[in-house]
């Protein structure tokens, strides 16, 4: 088991390095001068050129990459050249705010996803199953931002019962898990949780339905086990699949949603990334994408390890 975990952790290193190459490459092959969103549009090309040299963008790309990677490894993502603030500081703030949103969405997504999926799997083919499947498909298909806007129109504009934007009194720095702040969570969390609900529901449904047809379930019934005990066995067998799907969803949610965070002006990583893209703030853009990509890598690692703990056959294979 330890060898398996050690091997998986070692695999992370080349993956992470590959990610940094891709991030750096993609950011630099985007059209346009790297500084044209930072200096005013009227600034002549000569001024832009002076800044390009000042920021080292005239150096060959591999040299720029080596300098950036060296700093990033020591946790220094540089200074945002749009705001002059340290990138690491901006990312840390954004990640915390996104985590607040993601925590709610994960809780709702996994609870409802597993619940609806299990019901649909159990009642496969019935109207309950069709309803649950329809709900899951709608959850996966409905555009985030559209749902967010509709919820805002209904609950903020029409009914005036929930706030339309922001993190509440005092913003992120005064965040607390109290009523005044949590009310700001409700609409974005609902919006954000719809996709994970849909995806987890579908996976759980398929897995539960498949497990219920397996011979060991009939054996358990024949042995006279109570239905709740059988249910626990089904859950244990479904867990690795559900964990893998949920893990990816958690990765997505931790990455923040550009659209949901923009619609609700929620200052998380998605909002930060959106700003970095539009202002082509390269140090910020590289830093944010790297951190988000690493979330995925680490989340996959954790899921793999958890799966192997639940089902040791995986580690052996």
């Amino acid at each position: 088991m330890f060898a398996y975990i050690a091997r998986r952790i070692l695999y992370v290193i080349p993956i992470a390095l590959g990610v940094t190459v891709i991030i750096f490459g993609l950011v630099h092959i985007a059209p346009g001068d790297p500084l044209n969103a930072v200096v005013p549009p009227d600034a002549p090309k000569e001024t832009v050129q002076i800044l390009i040299e000042a920021y080292g963008f005239d150096k060959p790309i591999p040299v720029q990459y080596a300098i950036w990677l060296g700093r990033a490894l020591s946790g220094d993502f540089g200074i945002s050249f749009a705001t002059g603030r340290p990138v690491a500081e901006a990312i840390a703030g954004g990640v915390v705010n996104t985590l607040i949103l993601a925590a709610g969405a994960i809780l709702i997504g996994m609870t409802l996803g597993c619940l609806i999926g299990a019901i649909a799997g159990y009642y496969q083919g019935s109207w309950i199953d069709k309803l649950a499947t329809g709900f899951a498909i709608a959850g996966v298909s409905v555009p985030h931002y559209w749902l967010g806007l509709v919820l805002v129109i209904i609950f903020s504009v029409e009914m005036n019962v929930l706030p339309a934007m922001g993190m509440g009194p005092g913003g992120a720095k005064d965040w607390a898990w109290d009523q005044a702040h949590m009310r700001h969570l409700i609409l974005p969390v609902i919006t954000l949780s719809v996709i994970p609900i849909g995806i987890i529901t579908r996976s759980v449904r398929a897995t539960v339905a498949e497990i219920l047809t397996m011979e060991f379930v009939q054996t358990l019934e024949a042995k006279g086990l109570k239905s709740f005990r059988i249910f626990l066995h089904v859950c244990a067998n479904a867990a690795p699949t559900v964990l893998a799907v949920s893990g990816l969803q958690i990765g997505y949610l931790l990455g923040g949603s550009i659209l949901v965070e923009t619609v609700f002006s929620w200052p998380g990583t998605g909002f930060l990334l959106n700003d970095a893209i539009f202002r082509r703030d390269i140090p910020l853009l590289q830093g944010v994408i790297l951190v988000l990509a690493m979330f995925f890598v680490v989340m996959n690692l954790l899921v793999d390890i958890l799966q192997s703990l639940i089902d040791p056959r995986m580690a052996r294979s």
């Binding site: 059209p31 600034a43 000569e46 832009v48 002059g84 299990a118 706030p163 339309a164 009310r183 202002r279």
Partner: protein, 543 residues
Amino acid sequence: MIDRRTFGRGVAAVLGGAALTALSLSPALTKPAEAQGTLRLGMTLADIPVSFGQPDQGFEGFRFMGLMLYDALINWDMTADDKPSALIPGLAESWSVNKDDPTKWTFNLRKGVKFHDGSTFNADAVIFNFDKLLDKDSPQFSARQGSLVNFRIPSIKSYKKIDDYTVEFTTHEPSGFVPFQLCYILMASPAQWEKTGKDWNEFGKTPSGTGPWKLAALAPRESVEFVPFKEHWDTSRVPKLDKVIALPIPDPNARTAALLSGQVDWIEAPAPDAIPRIESQGFKMVANVYPHIWSWHLSRVEGSPWNDIRVRKAANLAIDREGIKALLGGYAIPAVGHVTPTDPWFGEPTFKVKFDPEAAKALLKEAGFSTDNPVNIKAMISASGSGQMLPLQMNEYMQQNLADVGIKIDFEVTEWNALIDLWRAGAKSPQANGAHVINVSYTTQDPYSAFTRFMRSDLSAPKGVNWGYYDDPEMDALLRTADGAFDPAERDAILAKVHARAVDDAAFIWVVHDVAPRAMTTKVKGYVQSRNWFQSLTSVYME
């Protein structure tokens, strides 16, 4: 098999719990916080502009950060909404040009002015701020701040302190436009820069200027709070409000929802299709003409169809500007030139810019074109962007109008920042790829921004943004004469000739002027929307 009752009980427990949570949270949500002398304002920006002196994020950065915290030697008069804003004394009480040597300007500074940190404003502070932008060897030099504003002061060659309250500027050549340039240079406190470890980023956390507002709090990407600077040198500009909280809300629908749900009292640029809704719910819309033009900038390089004046005039006559105004919810002014007829620079052009498709067809026929044999034009446009209004819808409307008379438009839609890059590169650059039009909206706030940079033949790329390589010796002469005029009335008269010549030459395809619509609650009182990109919140109060 699993007992269905087990499932039923589980489902009921989860749903019941969720419902209880929702109910426990909702009763307190019915009423938004009441503002008391606090104005909550939704900006269109995605982040708070930098606060260390010269702001970023264009003129909105000046509006909601630069001119809140700082003054310039020369300020804009933002007290009237019925005439174009004029330049007025700011931290300089007066200024004059040397009659014997018109490259030398003397500025007499205002006495008794304090920065927010209590230090005194004087000639040393002026020199400190210009060194910050222009002297690479000075300890306070900031390349970043310089990049944000140095292009606005092309005339300034040098500057020196004469005494504690007198400064002399020397220009490269005689230029009457100097006051229009110096109004962008904001004065930050040297003492505060020393106190904050001589680091402009640190200075930005506790900035100190002489402006009517002090920075109270700043949370990146979330909000910025300003409180009045009661000791402001101009008592008429001491703010009436207790506080201004400005929030970045880049999405127009989110901004509109924030207003309608009572989370903010004022929003910039509401979504055009939401304006009837905003008005029907008892909010007020405020708008006014300001120096902005949404136009097509034409390529005049060899082979461009726009080199035929009949084609240029025909295009100007083909556009249904009233239709575009309707598309914008009525919040636009159909253009009849680069500036509006109420502007002192409008002049008396003989070519009337209007919607006359028959006249357009006749001109095109004369030039050898028709709907069966159309002029083929490639236009570079963006899908969004600062000041661009609704670029896709407006351009498609124009495409239809122009097709009706015999001008076929193919669009190359580019991301806004990439379009800016293409604009800087000029129409002859390989990136332009033979495009005949670029659609970037412009300010007409000062003579250089309005005319010179687009129409003086020596200001094409890389020196400037005469994108289309406009080259008219007579226009060059007029622009240089205007630049050399020191009497404002004389200067305006020459600029009126510049404008009339540009219109008669159909130098651009002019479409509409924006009117900067803002929506606010009826509790917001005392606001005067000046005819300027910049606005003052000092007269505003909450009822």
